[in-house]
Symmetry: C2
Subunit: 396 residues, 2 copies
Amino acid sequence: MAKRPAFADWLDDTNDVTRMFLAAGQIPGLINLAGGLPDPQLYPARALADLAHAALTETPQDALNYAPIEGYGALRDALATRYETDKLKLTRENVLITSGGIQGLELIGKVLLNEGGAIATQTPTYLGALDAWRPRRPTYRPMRPDANDFDPAVALRGCQFGYTVPNFSNPTGKLVPTNVRAALVEAAQSTGTWLVEDDPYGALYYDETPLPRMIELAGDGAPYDGPVIYLGSLSKELAPGLRIGWVIAAPEMIAKLTLAKQGSDMSTSGLSQVLTLRTFETGLDARVLPDILTLYAARRDALCAAMETHLTPWFDWEKPVGGMFVWAVARNPDFNTDDLLQAALRAKTCVSPSSVFDPLGEDRRAIRINFTLNSEPQLAEGIRRLAVACQEVDLR
Amino acid sequence: MAKRPAFADWLDDTNDVTRMFLAAGQIPGLINLAGGLPDPQLYPARALADLAHAALTETPQDALNYAPIEGYGALRDALATRYETDKLKLTRENVLITSGGIQGLELIGKVLLNEGGAIATQTPTYLGALDAWRPRRPTYRPMRPDANDFDPAVALRGCQFGYTVPNFSNPTGKLVPTNVRAALVEAAQSTGTWLVEDDPYGALYYDETPLPRMIELAGDGAPYDGPVIYLGSLSKELAPGLRIGWVIAAPEMIAKLTLAKQGSDMSTSGLSQVLTLRTFETGLDARVLPDILTLYAARRDALCAAMETHLTPWFDWEKPVGGMFVWAVARNPDFNTDDLLQAALRAKTCVSPSSVFDPLGEDRRAIRINFTLNSEPQLAEGIRRLAVACQEVDLR
């Protein structure tokens, strides 16, 4: 047989992280603190079973026919209502339903990036966003909103868009403060740059009052046409397996994203959309949320207590007020968390090293630890094992 | 506010067809013969409601958690078994679950096309495939498998892949004969080119015994590693709203498509996948199929009878032995079916003009007529209106 044609060039850019984590999944007894998964025991499966049965018997065509590319009208209306404020005026023309949050990111890349296009991204940043944009081989300009000399206009000028996760950033778990949010919005307006507000963790505030969304700050009381492209998701608030996300943006952007979605998957599952609408209508998501917050807050506390006991010789961190992650930075700038991961796997635990969250792949000094998936005893044991791994790296 | 950045260049290449068809949907009393939709009354909604309830109560984690990127193992196994023959040896490593058939096409473009990459495509061809690949701005080499001088090796050599719909091609409704299938497979092997076999209509044979699939012809009794990339879908056999498709290909190709899918939507709806598995396990799809075939065959006959009565002055066509479409070619080479569509809309009916199925956008001589969505009286009335439109174009 003749030699087959080469694969597309961007596939040369992929790293081994996914393969490594998949291999980790095969280790018996591993305590996985690396992922970003909800605890499946929180999914309201029985309530969803009843809603699915009702959806398929009462509105079978909505559930089983091709949905409109941009999503069901009633669900788009429900989301417009959900996010509307006095200043932020929304209609369904501002809303696109996506097949999970990551599809929103991919579609934004599709409509805004020619090969090599420039993105200003909060750094460290979400690994999945880098995956979504890799086929366009973008250039990245790092943004560090917590740096003293951060100038949003300098960061955004000349880029196709800026990318931020203002609530409990993946990976750092930190909040972008309100004044920086406002400055980013103002810079997006003054430079004409689009500004992506990726917000999968926005409901997961454990201790504090939620800060205003950037898209709210961009609202001016007129029908929304601002530069902020907001991404929401059902994955962290209800269940990821339904693959439902949404984009809220200027109608011009929604129209282009719709064109791009047509060639990606035509439309999002009708069954999942009808189920999401019924979830909102019956208030199921609101009923589930208090249990989610209680469980995750307790786990965050348990994780931080275990870290206090075991990791202080090596790491500094801040206790996050929400989200799913603690970000720990090594005290010694020469500490290499890629090496730590290898040692951690030998000790039967697993965290995410900072290199995978750096668009330039350089940061080796930090780790991301998840606290939502494992029980309190598992978290404590995982951190004990991580300390064993730290000792091993230390002694090399 | 400053001027916003330009959208990606490929968006300049999109045509107005979608917008025109969407506008057509607003015309009261329109009989739409343009689409390619199943008849929703055939969806087994009650049976699916029971299966969905059972899936969410009995295997809630499979339905509600993130599915593996490549799809549920049990569903991949079921599809490997479904397609396996004596010569075609398959395991789950040969199978990827996709969010509908069009995602399979998009992922193939993602992993095989750099900007401007070459595709040899059966012409006329599926509009959705053109949409899926447009962001990569490919170059197209038309393949006409029914031409007397068709040479598959000449067509495929130097291309990244060939694209065919051998069963009831969209738009022509024709079969690629077995000897041409075999010649295409042989040419793919001798030239080292990938060969995409897109098969959404493969179950819709009304009169004849199904021809062998190209992927079967490529099987040699060893674990499958051939050049044919087969795409299947649940959309035409059960219901499109679940958004379930599958790719069957060499493990090397499945691995690359999986990498691409990770950045597209992470995974396909778990609920839809579990529902599909239970559909296969309970034989629901097989129980539904006879009713689908009976209804669609009768409608095909009704459509062709109406065409015989009304369209013979203007068009020639062959009665298809399966699928969803009749392809009618104008007797007069100067007949312009783009103009016909405008006249048809005024007469309150709608067909698809050949220009949209031509990768080069040039063919103006034919139309695609769908017979699966409308009742027999609607089909007859739609064709009567189309004849009125033909008369109008004729008289200009």
